[in-house]
Amino acid sequence: MAASQSPRKGGILDDIEGWLDNRDANVEPIDAAASQASGGPDARSWLDRSLVAKTAGGGIAGLAGNVAGVGRGAWHSVEGLGRGALFLSRLVDPYDPITSGPGDSARDQLLNAGKSVFDYAKNGIANPASVVADVKNAARKLYVDTDPRATPMANTFGGEMARNFNVGSNQGELGWDVGTSLLGSGLAPKALRLLDVAGEAGGSARFVGQGFTPAKADYLALPYKGMGHHLVPRNAWKPIRLPQPLSDSSFNVLKPPGMSRGDFYELHYAVDPRFYTARLPRAVGGGVWNGKTLTLPRYGPVSRVLYGSPAPLKAAVGAAGASGAAADAFNGDR
């Protein structure tokens, strides 16, 4: 009996291998079920063994997952809309190509995204089988993510509830996405999510072009090592001044990693109305970097907050409002 089931057990495992790789559904290992099938003692509780109880519990968890999934989808859409709005504001901002490094401007990103789509279409025409395989894989993933029948029942009552909650939340999010896409509001953020930030900061040639000597341009092209831009200024009016540890924390300091001095000064000038100049060391000839002399633009109040907020702060604000957090916490605890 056991010998005849071994190939079948292996077949099931092979079938769900990809699913197990990608998901953390807390499904108990099938080995236990196999050992029970092979005649070993079943140490599970009545609840874990009961097919009826697990089906009922799974159904309730699936419904709860639907609700959480809709919330998660709504949040993702809000997040996407925020990013999309930010992207669109950069796209129409005439100064964006000036303040962004080569290849970093919204227009360049849009062109790159268009190029990627074009390349994919070109490859698809040359090799139609790859497109068919991609579509099959996507359909398979959708099936596993949203249909409880695509994966085996969990070995325990808790595991089965978690599995159904996951599938239910995926269904809820899918429902939200389809609904909002039909209404036209969800489509833009989804499309904008596809856009990747690309391109490296320009070298010293750009700063030579701004009128700096080669030595100063080289200095400006080196990575920025200063204190960064403080969203709430360090010397703010005392009643609203932050305690120093918080003021200098990553939640208040904008200091994008890997950014050159010159690029950071331009960003700092754009987002901080109190930042005008930066001294250059005597070793490169002294003098100052002056945003006004370079006729750089400054952002308005809204863009200042959008572009001047450090990433950890944005993430924290986003997480606090995430309506899908409860679902994730539920899954994480189990």
Partner: protein, 169 residues
């Protein structure tokens, strides 16, 4: 109607006093301390009291001072050209004549001092300065200091002592 221009650009003969770290990659003390101290000293000549001089690292030097009880402040950037921004006072409109006097006195003091030159004033909305340059920071009918001092505040007028009633014998 009073027009105020509180952003100034000027040249100066002060040496760069920026303090760098050993590798000259980070600034330990912002340049312009000598400049800020000199402007602060100018304000004391017409009656201001300096409360605090602070390094806003990698930005500018800030000075908080008071004039006839009115709390004010300025930011100064040692650059090419140097920049001076005099903060607007918080509070009631009656403070504005005092503020105007500070700007006018500071303008005159800087013009008299040979260390400053090419001084010009611009309007400033808190984030951007106007393009037009002016020789004077304030235009309009500004009451004299004594007149301002004599005028009771709104609260004093509201809760101040009433005329004594004649006593009835």
């Amino acid at each position: 109607m009073i027009t105020i221009r509180r952003y100034a650009e000027f040249g100066c003969d002060f040496p760069d006093d920026t303090i760098w770290d050993a590798e000259e990659t980070s600034i330990v003390q912002t340049g312009g301390k000598n400049l800020a101290e000199s402007i602060a000293e100018l304000t004391t000549r017409f009656g201001c009291v300096i409360n605090e001089l602070e390094d806003n690292l990698e930005h500018c030097w800030e000075c908080r001072f008071s004039y006839e009880g009115l709390e004010l402040g300025f930011h100064v950037y040692h650059a090419e050209p140097c920049i001076l921004i005099v903060d607007q006072p918080l509070g009631f409109k009656r403070h504005f004549p005092l503020y105007c006097h500070v700007l006018m006195e500071l303008n005159q003091a800087m013009r008299r001092d040979g260390r400053f030159h090419d001084l010009e004033w611009h309007t400033y909305d808190g984030t951007r300065e106007g393009k037009e340059a002016y020789e004077v920071p304030v235009v309009g009918d500004i009451p004299e200091i004594d007149e301002i001092k004599q005028k009771p505040s709104f609260l004093k007028r509201l809760f101040g002592a009433r005329k004594a009633r004649p006593e009835i014998e």
